[in-house]
Amino acid sequence: MNEFREVTPGGKPFKKAYVALMLWFVGRAIQAAAKVDGDVKKEFEKLPEGFTFCLGVMPHGPYMIVGKDRKERVKYMGWRREGRSIDLDMKIKNIEAAILMFTFQEGTAVATARDRMVVDGEVPYACAIVRVLDIGEVYLLPKIIARLAVKRYPVWSFGRKYIGRVRIYFRSIVGY
C-alpha cells in the first residue's frame, strides 16, 4: 500500500504555460525595444559581441533567450538553452515565484531583495539587463501596473511612451 503521494517534477502546466507565454512576449519585446528605444539600444551597444542572456524558471524552464547576433542585432533567440553559451543567466528559483513576478504582485526589485532569483554571470551585465527589463516593463504595462514593478516610474515624453509603446507592441507581435 502506497500511502505517500508521488511527487513528480514538471507539474503545474497552466502556470508554466502562462509564464512561458510571458517570457516569449518579453523576449520579442526586448528585440523590438532595442530598435525603437534609444536607451535600450545604448545598453546593448555596450555589451560585448555575441552577448547572450537567458531568463527563466528553475529547475526545468520555461526560458527565453535574447542575444546579439553576428551583425550586432538584438534578437529573441527562442526558448531552448541547450547548446548555447550563456553570458548572463537569470533564473527564478521556482514557478510560484515566477507567477508572483509575472502577475506583477511582486516588483522586480522586491523579488530580487527576497532572493527569488539566482543570477550567474558578470555583475555589470546583470545591471544592464535589469535596466533593459525595467524599460521594457514601462513600455509593455499600463502605468498602474508598471508602477508596482519598477522602483520609480519614469517621466517620458509623450512620443517615447505612447508611440514607442505602439511600435514595440506591433513589432513584438509581428516579430521583427
Binding site: 522586491v110 531583495a113 527576497r114 532572493d115 539566482v118 550567474d120 555583475v123 535589469v130 520609480r152
Partner: protein, 415 residues
C-alpha cells in the same frame, strides 16, 4: 518591526569575543579535527606584531603548518592560487586568517581551491559552484570594519583581466571568528574612524534597504548602538580595550546584517569612487552615508527615523518630533564625521573634495565625478537600494558629496 513576506537569513559563524579569545583557537581547531593550520596574513599585520600575539596564544597546542604574510592590499587571484600551493606543500588541514577584508577574502579563496583540490579559483565563480563544506577556517579580524568574518562573500581581483570576481556561497562563512581586543588595540585613529564608519554604513544600509528582515535588523541596531557609544571614546583613548572589543563586535554584527540584507547606493558610489580614484573604502562610506540616507528618505524615512534610538539614545528620540527624526539621523551622522575630523586633525575627510593623499594632494578631482557615476552603473549593490538611481542621480549625489553641502531633496526625481 518590519516582517517581510519572505526572507532568508544565515549566519552560522561561531563568534568568540573577549580580551583573551585567541587562546580558544586550539580548542576550536580540535573540535573541527584540525591540527595544522596555514596562517594567512599581510605584511602590515605581521610587522605590527599581531601574528606573534596569535602564535604565542596557540603555540603550545597547535603545530602551525606555515605562515604566509604576503597578501597584497587588494586580494588577487594569483596570490590565492599560490597560497593554495603553500597550503598543500606544508600538509595543512585548516586556515587561520589574521587581517582585514583583503586577507579574509584571500583566505576564503584559498579555502575554495584547497578544499576542491583544484588549481585555479576561477573555476568556482558563479552561483552554486560550491556544493560542499570547505576546510576549517578561523578568521581573526584586525580592523573593525569590513565584517568579512560574518559574510558569505569573497571578492577576489583578477588583475590580468581587470575583473573583480565575487564568490558567494554559504560555505564561505568562516567556521569561527575570533574577536580579541589585542588585535585592534594598535589600529591608528584615522583608520579606526574610517573602518568604524564602514561598519556603520553596513548596518544602516542593511536596516534601511529593500532586503531588511528582523534578524538582520536586530544585528544592525546592536551594531549602530555599539559604534555610536564607543567610537569617540576609542578615538580619544586608543588603548581602551573595552571600546576596541565593542567596535569589533559592532563590525561583526554589521557584517551579519549586510551579508543577509545587502547594502545600497552608499556602497554603489563608494565602490565606484574607490575604483576610479583609490579613496579608501571606509572613508567613502563615512562621506557618502548621510547622502545615501537623504537620497532614499522619501522612500524609507519610517525606517531611517528608528535609527535615532541606537545613534543618539531614547531621550533624544523622544524629544524629537516624528517628522524630524529621519533628518536628525542624518544630522547626527554628519556630526560624527565632524567629530572624527576634529579628532584626527583633519585626516578624516567630511566630503569628497577634501580627501587628500599622504602628500596632501586632492584624491578626487571634480572632473572625475562623471567617471565615478559611469562606474557606479556597473555595481550590483544598487539592486537593493530603495530608490532607483540612474547616471544623473549618481552624479547629483556625487556633486553635493564633493562640495559637502546637504542634498537638495527637491532635486531628487522621485520626490
Amino acid at each position: 518591526m518590519y516582517l517581510p513576506e519572505y526572507y532568508e537569513f544565515c549566519c552560522r559563524v561561531k563568534v568568540i569575543s573577549g580580551h583573551n579569545a585567541l587562546e580558544k583557537i586550539p580548542e576550536s581547531l580540535a573540535k573541527m579535527h584540525a591540527a595544522r593550520p596555514l596562517i594567512i596574513t599581510d605584511k602590515g599585520v605581521s610587522e605590527a606584531g599581531l601574528v606573534d600575539i596569535v602564535l604565542d596564544a596557540i603555540r603550545d597546542e597547535v603545530a602551525v603548518g606555515a605562515t604566509a604574510d604576503d597578501v597584497p592590499q587588494d586580494s588577487s587571484l594569483k596570490v590565492v592560487n599560490r597560497l593554495a600551493d603553500v597550503y598543500r606543500d606544508n600538509d595543512c588541514d585548516s586556515i587561520i586568517a589574521v587581517g582585514g577584508g583583503s586577507v579574509m577574502d584571500t583566505a576564503k579563496g584559498v579555502n575554495i581551491v584547497v578544499s576542491e583540490n583544484a588549481h585555479d579559483l576561477m573555476k568556482f565563480s558563479g552561483a552554486g559552484a560550491l556544493k560542499r563544506a570547505l576546510k576549517p577556517l578561523v578568521v581573526i579580524p584586525t580592523t573593525s570594519g569590513t565584517g568579512s568574518e560574518a559574510t558569505l562573500v569573497a571578492v577576489v581581483k583578477d588583475h590580468e583581466r581587470h575583473l573583480k570576481m565575487a564568490f558567494v556561497s554559504y560555505f564561505l562563512l568562516p567556521d569561527v571568528a575570533i574577536l580579541d581586543s589585542r588585535m585592534t588595540l594598535t589600529l591608528p585613529p584615522f583608520i579606526t574612524a574610517a573602518t568604524a564608519m564602514d561598519a556603520m554604513a553596513h548596518a544602516v544600509e542593511a536596516y534601511t534597504g529593500l532586503a531588511k528582515n528582523p534578524l538582520s535588523d536586530a544585528s544592525a541596531l546592536a551594531a549602530i548602538s555599539l559604534i555610536s557609544s564607543n567610537l569617540m571614546g576609542v578615538m580619544e583613548n586608543p588603548s581602551d580595550r573595552e571600546g576596541r572589543l565593542a567596535l569589533a563586535n559592532a563590525a561583526t554584527l554589521a557584517g551579519a546584517a549586510f551579508s543577509n540584507s545587502m547594502v545600497g547606493v552608499v556602497h554603489t558610489l563608494g565602490h565606484a569612487t574607490g575604483s576610479v580614484c583609490g579613496v579608501p573604502h571606509g572613508m567613502c562610506m563615512a562621506i557618502l552615508l548621510p547622502y545615501g540616507l537623504e537620497y532614499n528618505m522619501h522612500k524609507n524615512a519610517h525606517f531611517t527615523e528608528e535609527l535615532l534610538v541606537p545613534l543618539a539614545g531614547a531621550e533624544v528620540y523622544a524629544a524629537t518630533p516624528k517628522h524630524l527624526r529621519a533628518e536628525q539621523v542624518v544630522a547626527h551622522i554628519r556630526k560624527m564625521n565632524q567629530d572624527l575630523h576634529d579628532a584626527t586633525a583633519g585626516r578624516h575627510a567630511r566630503f569628497l573634495g577634501e580627501v587628500k593623499d599622504g602628500g596632501g594632494r586632492q584624491v578626487v578631482p571634480r572632473e572625475k565625478l562623471e567617471d565615478i557615476a559611469e562606474a557606479a552603473l556597473d555595481d550590483g549593490s544598487i539592486f537593493y537600494n530603495p530608490e532607483e538611481c540612474d547616471y544623473e542621480d549618481f552624479l547629483m549625489i556625487l556633486r553635493t558629496a564633493w562640495e559637502g553641502t546637504p542634498l537638495d531633496r527637491g532635486l531628487i526625481k522621485g520626490v
